[in-house]
Each structure stands twice: as C-alpha cells, then as structure tokens.
Amino acid sequence: MKKRLLSLSLATVMGLSLLAGCSSGGKESWKVTCPWAPSGVAAVVSQKAAEMSTKYSENTTLVAEAIQGDAATVNTWVADTEANDTELVFVGEGLLSITSILDPAKMQFTYEDFEYVENLYSSIFVLSADAELNVKTIADLEAYVEGTSEISVAVNGATGSEAFLAAALFGSMGAGDKVKLTPYQSAAEAAQAVAKGETSFAVSHQSQILETAQQGGVNVVCAFDEKAIEHGPFEGVEGVGEYGYPYFRNRCFVMARAGTDAEKVSALKDLYDQILADEEVVTWLQDTMLLEVDTMSKEDVEAHVENVKNIVNEYKDIVAG
C-alpha cells in the first residue's frame, strides 16, 4: 500500500510540475509557423526574418518554426488559435488557389480565417531542361514540344505550384496531352531529377537548380514571369509572359488569425516591412536565395489568388487527370 501511495504521489507531483511550467511568461513573441519543409525556401527566409526581428523591435520578437504538413498544419493552426493570439502562419497560392479548388475537403479554413500581414518574398520559378536535349530558349522549347510525344517534368508534390506552372505552359502550347508530371517529395529532389535523366524538364526555385546548372547538367530555359530575369546568375533568362504564356510568381503570405486587432496587424506589417527593407536582407534574398522582396497590399494578394485560381481551373485536368 505504501509503495502504491508513493507511486501515486510521485506521478501527481510530476504532473502538477509540468502543468505549472505551461504558463506563457508574458513576452510578446510571435510564433511564425511555416507549414512546409524546414529546409525549404520559406522556412529559411522565415528564420532570417526572425533573426532580424530583434534588430527592429524591442517589444516584438518573431520565432520561426517549420512544421511540414501544408494544409494539415494550417488546419491545426486555425483550430488551435484565436484572434489576437501571438501566432502567425504562412499560406501561399498553393493553399488558397490550388487546394481550395482541387481538394477543398482537405482545407478546414478559408481566406476569411486570416488577417493578411505581409508577403515575405516573391520567387520566380524556372523551367530547366536536361542538357542533352539542347533546349536553351523558349523557341527551342516550342520546337521540341512539337516534335516529341512525351514531355516528362519533375515537380515538387503532385499538385503544387510547380505542377500547375508546367501544366499551364505546356497546356497553352497545345501539348497538354503529352505532359507527364513526375512528383518528387522535395523541390531539391525534383531539381536533381532532371540532371539524373529521370525526366526531361523540371520546374523549381532558381536557387534549387543553381548548382546543377553551374555543373552543366541542365539548361535553364525560361522563367515563369512576365519578363526576363533581371538579377543573379540567371539574368536574361526569358520570361514566358513575353510569349503570351500564363504564369504566376510563388509567394508566401504571412497571416495572423482573423479578428486580430488592427493595430497589432499594422505593427507586425511595419516590422516585416522594416526587415524586408534592410539592405542586408535585400542582398541576401537576391544573391543567396535568388528571391525578390515584394511587399504587397491586401488587394494585390487577392488579385494574385484570383489569377492562380483561373490558371488552376483551366489546367487542372492536366495535373489531376
């Protein structure tokens, strides 16, 4: 009996101690949840922003966290947070424009569940081709598409932004039925697949194909943007917009929970704007991450979401079958 009492008391004391340690401590630190890979572009930029937050605010600290899970992570975030909670989350066109159309049951949230804070970055995706194909420009690509029966493209995830960019480009060239999208589990893996000869093309962030391109394994054919790339190692690579093909940039919106006080949201936006205007951050984003600072208004965000939705509706048959 004594031993049982000892066991029970020990368990109670330890349980109470754990609960006692659960208080928040009262600091205004905002946890920023990235629902994608911890080694991915968004998580890395979020980490950098968190580091810089102490430089620009004495009251607000950003704490970066990455929980890979896409819609599932955001579902959990929405379920576990309330207005004015010191929690932020990233969403992008992948969730707001793609999943919302292809698999709405997976999303237990809508755009209305968030309060837009700022766009963390803009990324111009590029299409790279196996060097052996000798496809270096959009004109080469059009000629290749005409003469081939299958266009295999490595993409990150089965229904991500990369898949829709590939579908939109080849679909608008009239070769939607020739496209074979091969999904990989990470953007880096997809970028390497083309160099290993597993696919003919890959769509990726610029930074993820840089090393392979420098080694000569692939040619970067075009950028998914209106005009040619203006900075960095891929400067001068043609934009598909110049040829009238559809495109969109990959963006990462920082969101607070809907109903959060306007002053708080405004203070966070100011903080992000200061961080994103910092010369060190601008240079780092441009030269190291091959991304662009692209602060946006709420209206710009809504326009971006609508543009991608239109593309998804038009080319979803190529991606989802």
Binding site: S7, L10, A72, A105
Partner: protein, 509 residues
Amino acid sequence: MLEYIVPATGLLFTLENILWINIGVFVGSVFAAIPGLSVILCVILFLPVTYTMTAIPGMMFLLGIYCAGGYGGSVSAILINTPGTPHAAATMLDGHPLSQQGRTKAALKIALYASTFGGVFSALMLLFLGPQVAKIAAQLGTPEYFMVCVFGLTIIAGVSGKSMIRGIISACLGLLIACIGSDPMTSYDRFTFGVSRLYLGLDLAVCLIGLFALVEILAKAEKRLDALHLDTRKIKDDGKITKSEYKRMIRPVLLSSLIGVMVGIIPGTGASEASWFSYSQAKNMSKHPEEFGHGSVEGIAAAESANNAVTGATLIPLLTLGIPGDGTVALMLSALMINGLNPGLSLFTTDGDIMYAIMLGLILVNIFMCIQGKFLTTLFAKVVSIPQEILTPVIVIFCFAGAYSVNNNYFDVGVALIFGALAWILRKLDMPPVPILLGLVLGKMTEPHFRRALLISNGDPAIFFSSIYCLIFLALIIVAVATIIRGKLNDQKKERAAAAAAANVHEEE
C-alpha cells in the same frame, strides 16, 4: 573534408552542446544500467525534447544516450549478473565472475575503457567512410533508391525474433500505418476517415511512445517484479588493472572494434551480434581460452569494445542512404529530418559543417562517457536497484508529456494510448514491435520511390534492373535474405535437436 572540420569545430564546442552531451550520457547510462529499461525506450522518451532543439545539440543529446547505453548495460551485467541491455549479455559471462573475485571496479573499468575505444574507433570510421558512401549515394536515382529501401526492409528479417512470419506481419502493419495521410504521388488522403489531424500522417515519436514505452508500463503492471538488491560494498576494491592485463586487452579490443564497425554497417545486425561474435573470436585467438567464462579481461574487453563500435557504424547507412541500421538510429533520423537535414550527399556538402560537427561530436560523446564512467560508476551502480514503484510513474509522465509536446495537442496523447494498447495486444500474440518501427520509417520512403520509378518507366518493371547499382543491391538483398533464412533454419534445427535430446533424457529417467 578539412574545409568543413574547422567551422564544424566552432559549431560543436559550445557550452550548450557540451551540456547536452553530458545530460545524454548520464541519462543513457542510468537507463541502460537498470534491467528492464532499454536504450530505445530512453531515446523514444526523450525524442520529443529534441524537437525544440537545433540539429547539433539534439543529435548530441541522442548520441549521448545511444553511446552511453552501450556501456551502461554492462554495469548491471557485472554487478548483479543481469544485463541492463541485451548486448551486455556477453560482458556478463566474464564481468560477473571477475566481480565475484572481488574485482568489481576493475571489471567496470575494463568495460569502460574498451567501450570508449570501440566508440571512438567507430566515430572515426564514420568520419572517414561516411562522406565516401554519400558520394556513391548521390549517384543513385529513383529505381536505385527503391532497391536500397528493399534492402533496408530485409532488416525486418533480421530483427523479427524467432518467427520471421510474425516479423513480416508486424512490418506490414508498420507499412500500413505509414500509408495514413496524404498519398505522396497524388496528394489525395488515405485512411484519414475525415479526421483532419490525420492528413499529416501519424508522428513517428508519438507512435513509438505507445509501441515501446506505454506497453512496457502495461507489461510491468501485469507482473510483480522483485526488487534488485545490490551490495555496494562489492565495489570497494581498488580497481587496479595490471600492465599485463592492459597488454592482453590490446588485441581483442582492436579486433572487436573492427568487427563492431563491420557488423554495424550492415543493416539488421546490431550490438548483440557484434559482441557475441567478437567474444567468440577473442576466445579462439586467446592464449588463455580457459579463463573465458571465469573472469577473463579479454572477454570483457572484446564484448564491450564490439558493442560500442557499432554505434558510429550504424550511422553510416543512416546518414548516407536513410537506411537505419537498427531501431534506435531510426529515431535519430526523425531528429535530423525535423531540422531539415535529409540523408544523402547534401548532408555532407551543403550541410557539411553541421554534419561534421555531429560526427566529431560522436568522438566527444565517447570521451565524456569515459569521464562520467570514471567518476560516476558508483552512482550508476546504485540506480540498478531503484524500485519500480518510482520508475514507473516517472516513465508514465514522460510518455504523456512527450506525446503532448510533439504538436502541443491531446490528439497525440490519444494516439500514443491507442498504440500502447495495440502494442500490448501484439505482445500477447508474440509479435515483435521493432519491425513495425522499421515499416513506419521505410514505408514513407519505399512507396514513393516504387511508384515514381514505375511512372518514369511507364510501368515497365525492368527499370529496377536497369543500372549496375540496382543489380548490386539486388545481389545484396538475395545474399541478406538467404543468410537470414539459413540462420533461422539452423536455429530451428538446433531447437529441435535440443528438444529431442531433452525428450530422450526424460524417457531414460
């Protein structure tokens, strides 16, 4: 390599890392010293703690537990003739007799020094071999990786206990559980039943808390364990090891360390195999084979250096190919991946400074294990007799706190409880849990590589035999399966012979 070692040294030698190494070594030694608590249980309980850490301190903590677990098991083996961990069983054969001769401290010292040498040797092997294997891994494509995964799945045959069929069933269960969540090739949901928290799949740490930790509590509740009584006066000897004894230890320690590394590299084998094989080799090569089983210093040194030499070697296939050598290192994979570090060449190039810091840290772990062992052995010895009434509630609290802390929600606590109940039923059916763990880990890698390879080849299975690497791995799979089946058949034959002999004796009586 040198370009990474300098920044890695800077990253490694921080107060935080040194602290976590020491906490890990201490916790690992304590857990391994207590019979009934295992290193894998310890790693599972503390894995959620590492989720809040960056890669280096997290891995230092886990490696501290892992390596010290190798040595800690010998403490109870020597003191009370009960191995704290299965791989300390060979140490017990000579460690306890030496202790009974009044040389307990000497036996513990021999085990400590041999463990340290084996561990450092193994860490050096990892440092030099790891990057080379990773270069080969970088050349592997989707079909080759599928073959690597299948090779990894042959581990299941090695860890399936007495019945391979039961092991395979357990592994299939693990593979099935790994399917819960989004389909990797289409993003559509599978087995989620509309439960939103299942879209992400089940967290490995949460499942394992149920499978390995909670089930232990349930098992303990079923049987009454007698308290272990330890006479600490037994460890009051001077612990002196003579020069001739040191000389006699050199050869078995060197050979056993090499055996430990070779065994550790092969997935599915482990510290137990290494220590028994080394023990038998040391006996065959010894000038005093008659001393084995009666307190031979060579026997203790051989078994202990071998089981610690496995530690670094099991990390080679893990870090280069993502194939865990045993259940414990499979858990370390999730500690790495949570920090965005994926196995392969990039781990040794893009993240080279972090990786080299971890590999150098493994040497440091062994050094601190030696220091703690030297000064805290008496304390480790005393924990051997901690009553279950204290241990059990502590573990229960760690289980629930650990499950909750993974995603800060009670859903995971429920999942851990369900897995605990499942593991208890499986235990009743004599189904081993380790194949479930390997199925869970490898399932997430095997399926996408298999389906993607077929997508690339437009459904032609010849893609799995299309390159030299595929053929090499196919040959390895065949050899591994044949060896394991042969071993199992031999075991069955021996069991039948023993049963027949026992029946004859019974009839004669």
